[in-house]
Amino acid sequence: MIKLFHVEKTYKSPSGTVTALKGIDLTIGRGEIFGIIGLSGAGKSTLIRCINMLEKPTSGKVIVDGKDLTMMNDSELREMRKQIGMIFQHFNLLSSATVYDNVAFPLRLAKISEDKIKLKVDELLNLVSLSEKANQYPSQLSGGQKQRVGIARALASDPKVLLCDEATSALDPQTTKSILDLIKDINEKLSLTVVVITHEMQVIKDICDKVAVISNGVIAEQGSVVDVFINPQHAITKEFISVLLSNELPVAFRGNKISQEETVGSLLLLRLTFLGESADNPVIAEMIREVSGVDVTLLFGNLDQIHGIPFGRMIIGISGAEEEVEKALNFLKHEDLKLEVIGYVQRNYSAFDKGTW
């Protein structure tokens, strides 16, 4: 549905040039929810604006629905943009127009008759559950309601693509959830292709099928959300995921030296990642049964879901005779999970005593 070929964007200003995009290649399939995640300044907004040519790429090609937007003149581009809806972090609603008039806006641009507009706007307001607010002004709405108006407006011209630039970044977590649910819902109902820009892994995890990680104007990695979560390659990706899973060591170990050699009183810390069926399996219990010579301490555990697939993360500490520990590691390697050996770490008893553990 959307293809970017080596898209580059350089901004020139008196203070120098900034290359915001350094050769982006992306393919976004029809009906997909495609997430693009990156830190502030990574080039996310520039990238999504290149998809509807609000920013013209310095070089490269932007293909949407088989048509090359970089070759279009202004009026062809205006027609094309009617097939690409967009929603924004700060909603960008007309403050002087009612909810109804905001949603009707793109239809009036297209000079559609008021009768048809009314039918369409009523249907859309119903879709985003804002029918009773039709005659209110944006200033009378909450952030979540404003974004619903933004979504209704973006859908008014029956677009094939919906671009979301940090659409939930100005909203609280609960409202974020409801807006994401709505986006997922319309993606399914209208088989709309959705591009989601965010700096929050939670958003990616909640609704995206595929994800691309952008860093300093280049795509650091991309793939299905499940794959990227289980097997992140790039440091930035790991960082994003760790924020979500609180991947850090438990307080009692944090800050202590991690050693590859066993020292007196230290525990060997292991990070286990389970996916799918294995997340429900009592792997640890089985290991203890099989390898009786190790002591196991559960330090951290978190079970989550990605697209309904259970996804779990656990940090355990094991200790025991060298060959027993070896057996335990071999046992875990055979299980359907990802094993990372963190190393030997001394427990920090003072933290434990203070009860902050």
Binding site: N52, F88, H90, N92, L93, L94, S95, A97
Partner: protein
């Protein structure tokens, strides 16, 4: 004595209102498009055009830098060309209009600048033409601010019309000078001042109310 003053005052007030209303209407008809042009040709705007913007901007600045009383005298030939005479209420309106157009232009430009660029971008993303952005986004969104700015222009016009009155334009300014000053009639001077104060207050009050009513923020 009142029998004599009242008709003088009402006639002068009528002339002032006539001068201000007509000049304001004409000046607004030219000033708003001028303000829009200044805004949309500006840096980073939808019809960015540095040359056009600089040219118009310089002309606007040039006219605005001439004190009204000098402008009035300087353009007498032009006034005579347009209305056939350089004296009288209608003649006084020519310099009023010429002074107000660039004033309104700058005021409207400032009002339009307050419209967040995100709104323009949203309209562009929906396939709006530049003309649609002007008529459906920029002007409606900045209407409360434009009304407030135009109120200021009307008040400035009341003052300038008094000056124009001094060269035979009639109106309250003319009355104050001819009777209050030259014929030494302080009661007429005071009455004129009071009427001017009330007039300005009234304009400001109406402008504020209208701006508030339009403001949905």
């Amino acid at each position: 004595m009142f029998n004599e003053i009242i008709p003088l005052l009402t006639k002068a007030l009528g002339e002032t209102i006539y001068m201000v209303a007509v000049s304001m209407t004409i000046a607004t008809a030219f000033g708003i498009p001028l303000g829009v042009l200044l805004n949309v040709t500006g840096k980073g705007q939808i019809l960015e055009s540095p040359i056009l913007n600089k040219t118009i901007g310089s002309i606007v600045n040039a006219i605005r830098s001439i004190p009204f009383i000098i402008l009035m005298v300087a353009i007498i030939p032009l006034t005579r060309f347009i209305v056939g005479s350089a004296i009288g209420t209608t003649a006084a309106m020519v310099p009023l209009v010429i002074a107000s157009i660039p004033f309104i232009g700058r005021q409207v430009e400032t009002s339009l600048k307050e419209v967040p660029y995100g709104l323009i971008e949203a309209a562009l993303a929906m396939g709006a033409t530049p003309f649609q952005i002007i008529t459906k986004v920029l002007l409606p969104e900045s209407m409360p601010s434009i009304v407030a700015q135009l109120t200021t222009v009307i008040i400035a016009l009341v003052g300038e019309s008094a000056m124009a009155g001094a060269i035979g334009g009639g109106g309250l300014g003319d009355l104050a000078i001819r009777y209050g000053y030259q014929r030494f009639r302080p009661e007429i001077m005071i009455a004129t001042v009071i009427i001017l104060i009330i007039l300005v207050q009234f304009v400001q009050f109406c402008g504020n109310r209208l701006a508030n009513r339009l403001n949905k923020k």
